[in-house]
């Protein structure tokens, strides 16, 4: 009270600040009548700390303290609502009790405190507070939504609470009052008129949120208990205590909770919430049926954590049998708190589950779990077992009982709750499938895999030897002439074929030609087809002269002049639709998946096995990529698996025939690994809400299409080969209501499936969506102008942020100081709180920095309107990113969530300050500069990961910002990184569009919280190394605080044992996450790959794209660990070794000294290696900046496979050859398409328009001899000379040419998750290099052409 009366302090004056706080603290005990014990509780663990820390504990400790008492009361028998109430409010650092003594202490609270906790007061976010300008340290606002309480009710209740305990009232105010002092005078500036927000730049293409991110089910929200803070197993960090953070109680004299270990040295005023202080004994729920409900989770939790934390506290050990199960329930660890002491985790669950039957609040009733005394080993079996064996315990009353009921992915209407949770699950407890029209659960439409008969091993060797005439140099045109004109049916890659054979078959399988030169029959194709090779041969010409020629301004006649002006007619019209293209690029298009699967399987089968064993002489074969793009390799499964394998865009293995032994793998010299894109947006995904999730009892594999059913009642796990019982429910078909063949189940029909997880998969109630935005507002940041753009975009998308009624949002700006924003509901305007203390950042007020989006929406909107002007003219250049991140960690610790950082410069002040390490001209060749300079960000990132916080970085820096160090914050917290070099709203408009698109997508895309991913594989294989952004928590478990749909992962595998047990092996990735709607879900992908003992099969099954992607990831590691030059050598050796190994195994009769033989499946490997050598990440020639290189490396690690391959080897389309013949179908629209060209200047004609699509950027090259009509039609300019260079959009013109080109370009843009830079480049432009640097097959001053590279490889191979 005194504090609040004091005059405003200079915010910089920390001393006085501390003093005033301290003064407040000393007062508190006087106001607190509730007994020494409880009074002491919140403070005691601060007591050893500094004055300021005491204050901190005090201020926020006080209020929660009341809540602790409420917990106690309610758990004794009070209404459940009180629990709820107490969860969200419990946001300070009161540690959970670790033993009985603490618990009893809690329960010794004076009884008078109980009644004041009115059952209904559980909408914390809605509190009104007496003095409007002073926020009460309220609950975490967004957390609780309980069905039976209205806001009004809550408000009155809240008042009740505050007024009903007058003695308590002052204290929270007290704290607040003091803090209101610290507010910088600047804060008074906040009430600023809404600034004119700059219009956001128009979207290039409309891109909605992901198709699946779908529907809200508000009715279900009541099921989610609010209790984040309280029930979560998130606790003070005890990173400090190295050995365990052992939960053994320390007997503190004050009878306070034994502090397991102090989290941060300085928890700050609102540190962490007081945890539910309830012991096991008190949590006995009222009904007997519930009695043990807490146990599965609790025990699982202990099982999980005991092993980490050493011995459990004695009390725990007695109440929950310690599990010694070697395999903890695998996906059980959403809380993933490494530091969590066991007991705490269990406590919340007791509360969470122990809802009395009277409560209509709908506390999630877990399927009653049976045995209290779980035998140690049984834990891992709990999920399915406990449900089964004791179904009758499930109270009938729990209509809203089960946890999250399907807000099924793409608009599945949830069936009624009651039907989902039948009282007796044994008989009618069939899995309830969410059926919705149009979204069949059973993924019927997914076509069966093409069944390739296992190709005879001998075919590889049976090929006709390559003609020796193709020897050293390049086939002169003359010889081409006689060799190339193959009959159309022989053309493999679909190069211009005569119209006659055009649309008939998509991809005629090559019947014989070993070098399937897909050539046009020359004589008759004058108008429509390219001239024969001789004329535009420059890609692979006698090396030196021709290649040099390409670099120059296109000598007439060689590359460009080859095509007569009139020949602009499309050659692509001769081919069928690029089937593969559809499959690979349409990923984002709803509905694409099933169709394309069909197409793909057709094409695949037509490609045929004949191909796979074919050899290609790379020195002769120049057209390696068909216009349809590179085919997607798929495993050829044996006949009896008439099942669908996982979509190759989601899950791929580098070898589609796994060698049986590691020696065979070594012989093949190919990397073995898997690439996975687990959270990819899917247009169709079977979602299962089932009371029982069938898993293998020993390895916990989810049942999948590749298991073997021994009989109707048993199935054999395909990973560990254990024979498991099949639960009765599993053979029940919910559609026909009959028992029967288990094979009808969607789990057995689809390799990608999503389960809605029951309570066993939760360690705490699912967290709400929590978003915190960290905005750089230093001089540099304001100068770029990003702030207004960001605010505008966020304003636009505010309603589309994924989340439910609990969605929480917060903002934190920083330059040299930290600017917090109090957005408490009821304030008239946002309140800015300035904390200039960086070394010891603390939260200026305990609550309301993160607020419920819906309740404080006006304030959020107002803040976003004010922000750009608020910091206008800020001349502070320092950037305290480290301190801001620490604060964010503190702020989000109790819940977890997503932190979005906008950073524009090198962080220079406070903790985590960095120095400029960039040496001009170095471009990151020095390894030290592409690795982190400090482990500050890494450590912080691990702390964040433990608290389920992910940090996403948007780097908008023009100058060096040490991305190598900063990226660590995202790398280990499973965040994502965006990089916009030299972002400036005015000076760099190209990036603005990209930023706009990216940010909109980022804000609205699907998100999964507190997730873990486990990769299982068949016995004999093991995971060697992981690639991507995550923290590896155990040998097969990745901790992913957030998962986003654009994140890809890679894993190198090693073969430990012979794989002769089975003819196939499987990989299963199970991603357990909390959806933004608060549901716990498990997405399971299973990939099945055949095993072989023939090396020829290994080569035939190699997936060159996956291999390239995996090698890129490995090369990044190599670069960081040793040197980029080592990584480059490794790449060259990789292709050298693989091709050498291939050559070894084919009969020597086919080998000759002047060939480089590659299997058809690896024909692009040298090309990809060359592309990698020339890429920004690994090139030693360029002068790229260190940050650019680091970002490129980072992209190599995280991009999903197809995006990565496109980044390495961009797509080149001849836009002047758009064809309607095989249009891309998108909805009802038909988009003309163009075939992909190889990246050789030989393919560039002066008369054409060429689009280079690198994934991140699109460059439209306008040939210098382009016709005037085209200029007029496309660019609205009379001729080439008047086309403006550097246009960033195509004018929207009403003519067919323009419309076709625009629809194709827009289609390409829409089919990717990120934004692109679009740039029109004239052939004579000074930006020409932007386009031509991607011509990877060309020679440059300091890099080899593709042909030279091949010769180089050949030379090396010879020794």
């Amino acid at each position: 009270m005194e504090g609040s009366g004091q005059p405003q302090k200079n915010p910089q004056d920390l001393g006085s600040m501390n003093y005033s706080i301290a003064a407040g603290q000393t007062k508190i005990p006087n106001f607190v009548p509730n007994g020494p014990v409880s009074g002491a509780t919140p403070f005691s663990h601060w007591s050893g700390d500094s004055n300021r820390m005491q204050t901190a504990g005090n201020i926020n400790g006080y209020m929660p303290h009341g809540h602790v008492s409420s917990v106690a009361n309610t758990s004794v028998g009070g209404p459940i609502n009180n629990f709820r109430q107490s969860f969200p409010t419990a946001t300070s650092t009161q540690p959970l009790p670790v033993n009985g003594s603490k618990a009893s202490h809690n329960y010794s609270l004076p009884p008078t405190m109980g009644p004041q906790q009115i059952p209904g007061n559980n909408l914390p976010g809605t509190q009104s507070r007496p003095p409007p300008q002073i926020p009460l340290p309220g609950a975490l606002p967004s957390l609780s939504v309980t069905s039976n309480t209205s806001n009004q009710g809550f408000i009155s209740n809240f008042d009740n609470r505050t007024t009903g305990r007058p003695n308590e009232l002052p204290v929270p105010f007290h704290g607040q009052g003091q803090y209101s002092h610290q507010v910088n005078p600047l804060m008074q500036k906040t009430p600023i008129q809404t600034p004119g927000n700059s219009e956001p730049s128009s979207e290039k293409s409309s891109r909605g949120p992901s198709p699946v991110s779908g529907s809200t089910i508000d009715a279900l929200e009541s099921q989610f208990t609010p209790g984040h803070g309280a029930s979560s197993p998130q606790f003070p960090l005890n990173r400090g205590s190295p050995l365990s953070g052992s939960p053994l109680p320390s007997t503190s004299p004050s009878g306070t909770p034994p502090r397991v270990s102090q989290p941060q040295p300085q928890p700050g005023p609102s540190g962490l919430p007081p945890r539910m202080a309830a012991p096991f004994q008190f949590t006995q729920p009222p009904i007997p049926g519930h009695q043990h409900q807490g146990h599965p989770a609790a025990e699982a939790y202990t099982a999980q954590h005991q092993s980490r934390f050493g011995p459990p506290p004695p009390m725990l050990a007695s109440s929950v049998p310690r599990s010694s199960a070697p395999a903890p329930p695998s996906e059980m660890l959403p809380g993933s708190n490494h530091q969590a002491p066991p007991v705490r985790g269990s406590t919340p669950h007791q509360f969470y589950w122990s809802s009395p039957p009277s409560s209509s609040v709908g506390a999630p009733q877990p399927p009653a779990s049976n045995n209290q005394g779980f035998s140690p080993g049984s834990i891992s079996n709990t999920p399915m077992h406990s449900v089964n064996s004791n179904p009758s315990n499930t109270p009938v009353a729990s209509s809203a009982g089960m946890p999250p009921v399907a807000s099924s992915l793409s608009g599945f209407p949830p069936t009624s709750n009651t039907s989902k949770f039948p009282p007796s699950s044994n008989t009618s407890g069939f899995p309830q499938l969410s059926n919705a029209p149009g979204l069949p659960l059973v993924s019927g439409p997914i076509p069966a895999m093409p069944r390739f008969p296992p190709a005879p091993a001998s075919t590889g060797g049976g090929l006709p030897p390559p003609p020796t005439s193709s020897a050293p140099g390049f086939p002169p045109a003359a010889s081409n002439a006689h060799r190339y004109p193959l009959p159309p049916t022989l053309a493999y890659s679909g190069y211009p074929r005569p119209p006659a054979s055009g649309g008939s078959s998509p991809l005629p399988p090559p019947t014989s030609s070993p070098f399937g030169y897909p050539n046009p029959p020359p004589p008759s194709n004058a108008g429509g087809v390219r001239p024969p090779y001789g004329s535009n041969i420059s890609g692979l010409p006698p090396p030196v002269s021709q290649v040099v020629g390409q670099m120059g301004p296109s000598p007439p006649g060689i590359p460009y002049g080859a095509m007569p002006p009139g020949s602009t007619q499309t050659t692509t019209s001769k081919y069928p639709t690029p089937q593969y293209m559809q499959a690979t690029t349409q990923q984002m298009v709803p509905g694409a998946y099933p169709n394309n699967m069909n197409n793909m399987t057709q094409s695949m089968s037509q490609l045929g096995v004949q191909d796979s064993h074919r050899s290609v002489n790379l020195l002769n074969e120049r057209h390696l990529i068909s216009p349809e793009g590179v085919e997607t390799a798929k495993p050829t499964l044996p006949h009896d698996f008439k099942k669908v394998n996982c979509n190759p865009d989601i899950f791929r293995c580098t070898l589609n025939a796994i060698p049986q032994t590691s020696s065979l793998l070594n012989k093949a010299r190919l990397p073995l690994g898997i690439l996975i894109h687990p959270f990819k947006d899917l247009s169709q995904l079977p979602v299962i809400q089932s009371s029982v999730i069938v898993r293998c009892r020993s390895c916990r594999t989810y049942i999948n299409p590749f298991v073997v059913f021994v009989d109707q009642r048993r199935w054999k796990c395909n990973l560990c080969f254990r024979v498991n019982e099949l639960p009765d429910e599993f053979s029940f078909d919910p559609v026909t209501k009959t028992y029967g063949d288990p094979q009808r189940r969607p789990e057995v029909k689809s390799a990608t499936i999503e389960f809605i997880a029951p309570s066993e998969y939760m360690l705490r109630p699912p967290q709400p969506a929590v978003y915190l935005y960290l905005l750089d507002v230093s001089f540099n940041a304001v100068e770029t102008g990003y702030l207004s753009q960001f605010c505008q975009i966020l304003l636009d998308e505010l309603d589309k942020l994924p989340g439910d009624a609990r969605t929480t949002i917060g903002f934190l700006c920083y330059d040299r100081s930290l600017y917090y924003f109090n957005l408490a509901e009821g304030l008239s305007q946002p309140q800015m709180l300035v904390v200039p203390d960086l070394e010891d950042p603390f939260l200026p007020c305990p609550d309301n920095l993160l607020v419920n989006l819906h309740e404080s929406k006006e304030l959020v909107i107002e803040l976003l309107n004010q922000l750009p002007t608020l910091f206008e003219g800020n001349h502070e250049t320092g950037s305290a990113l480290g301190a801001a991140l620490q604060s964010a960690h503190k702020l989000m610790g109790p819940t977890g969530g997503r932190v979005t950082v906008m950073q524009t410069c090198l962080p220079t002040v406070g903790p985590g300050a960095l120095e400029n390490r960039e040496v001009s001209g170095d471009s990151g060749k020095n390894v030290a500069h592409i690795g982190p300079a400090t482990d500050f960000y890494k450590k912080l990132s691990l702390d964040c990961s433990a608290q389920q916080i992910a940090v996403d970085l948007f780097m908008l820096n023009g100058q060096y910002a040490d991305l190598a160090s900063l990226s660590c914050i995202s790398k280990y917290s499973a965040g994502c990184i965006y990089y916009y070099p030299s972002f400036h709203t005015v000076r760099n408009p190209g990036l603005v569009d990209k930023f706009d698109t990216d940010l909109r997508r980022y804000l609205t895309r699907k998100i999964g919280f507190e997730s873990v991913m486990r990769i299982r594989c068949t016995r004999g294989l093991s995971i060697h190394t992981f690639h991507g952004n995550f923290f590896v928590r155990s040998t097969d478990l990745l901790s992913l605080p957030n998962i986003n749909p654009d994140a890809g992962f890679g894993m190198q595998m090693s073969i430990e044992d012979n794989l002769q047990d089975s003819s196939t092996i499987s990989f299963q990735a199970a991603l357990l996450y909390t959806s933004s709607k608060g549901e716990r879900r498990i997405r399971v992908h299973t990939l099945c790959v055949p095993v072989t003992n023939q090396i020829s099969d290994v080569f035939a099954g190699a997936d060159q794209q996956a291999i390239a992607a995996l090698l890129a990831k490995m090369a990044v590691d190599r670069s960081l660990n040793s040197a980029i030059s080592d990584a480059r050598d490794a790449m060259m050796n990789a292709s050298l070794d693989a091709l050498g190994a291939y050559a070894q195994q084919i009969p020597s009769s086919q080998r000759s000294s002047n060939t480089i033989l590659a299997p058809q499946s690896l024909r692009l490997m040298p090309m990809y290696m060359l592309a990698m050598l020339k890429s920004v990440a690994f090139s030693l020639a360029g002068s790229s900046k260190v940050d650019t290189r680091v970002f490129a490396m980072q992209q190599c690690k995280v991009l999903p496979l197809c995006n990565l391959v496109q980044m390495l080897y961009p797509h080149l389309y001849p836009l002047h050859k758009l064809s309607d013949e095989n249009p891309i179908k998108r909805g009802k629209e038909e988009i003309p398409s163009a075939g992909i060209l190889q990246l050789s200047s030989a393919n560039i004609e002066r008369t054409g328009l060429f689009l280079m699509d690198t994934g991140e950027a699109m460059y439209l090259l306008v040939g210098s001899a382009v016709g005037d009509q085209v200029c007029q039609a496309v660019f609205d300019k009379p001729n080439f000379a008047s086309i403006q260079d550097g246009m960033m959009d195509l004018p929207e013109l009403e003519n067919p040419t323009s419309e076709r080109i625009r629809s194709f370009v827009n289609y390409l843009m829409d089919s990717r998750p990120n934004g692109v830079i679009f740039l029109v480049i004239r052939d004579d432009s000074k930006h020409r290099h932007l386009f031509f640097q991607h011509m990877l097959e060309d020679r440059t001053e300091n890099s080899m052409s593709y042909y030279e590279f091949l010769q180089f490889l050949q030379g090396k191979a010879k020794g």
């Binding site: 990173r239 205590s241 190295p242 050995l243 365990s244 953070g245 092993s307 980490r308 934390f309 070697p326 395999a327 903890p328 490494h338 530091q339 690795g931 982190p932 300079a933 400090t934 482990d935 500050f936 890494k938 450590k939 691990l942 433990a946 790398k971 280990y972 093991s1022 995971i1023 060697h1024 190394t1025 992981f1026 923290f1031 590896v1032 928590r1033 155990s1034 040998t1035 097969d1036 478990l1037 090693s1054």
Partner: protein, 146 residues
């Protein structure tokens, strides 16, 4: 039988080697636990890292004592390990604290394998040293009598 400085060194080294053997056994167990999923890598690294420097220091300490005692043979016997330790420590990942093990890379199969192998090799080395010191101690004691 005279109690020379060399004998003292050997006795001390004997005791310290026993300590080192415990260290290295702990190390082996720790990595085994990591490999079998029992432990969280963060915790495990936090418990392993503080032991690295003490282990190295103890080893260097008695090697220096041997140097003073003139037991050149024993010094040469220990020298390779010292060199290895120094190199290992110089090439450690970027860390602010002491220690070698980084929780983010420790789960890499190569790293795990290397650490485990290192543990076993060191255990062998320390065991051999132990008996070597025992023998030498007796030898020194006996020979100094003569």
């Amino acid at each position: 039988m005279a109690f020379t400085f060399a004998a003292f060194c050997y006795i001390l080294a004997l005791i310290l080697t026993a300590v080192l053997i415990f260290f290295v056994i702990f190390h082996i167990i720790a990595f085994d636990e990591l490999k079998t999923d029992y432990k969280n890598p963060i915790d495990q690294c936090n418990s392993l890292n503080p032991l690295v420097i003490p282990e190295y220091a103890i080893h260097v300490f008695f090697t220096v004592l041997f140097l003073f005692a003139g037991q050149i043979g024993t010094v040469i016997f220990n020298l390779p390990l010292i060199v290895y330790h120094v190199r290992r420590y110089l090439n450690r990942p970027v860390m602010s604290g002491m220690g070698l093990y980084d929780p983010t890379t420790i789960m890499n199969a190569d790293e795990l394998g290397r650490a485990q192998k290192e543990g076993w090799v060191k255990l062998g080395f320390y065991l051999i040293s132990f008996f070597y010191y025992l023998y030498s101690m007796i030898y020194v004691l006996v020979s100094s009598t003569a």
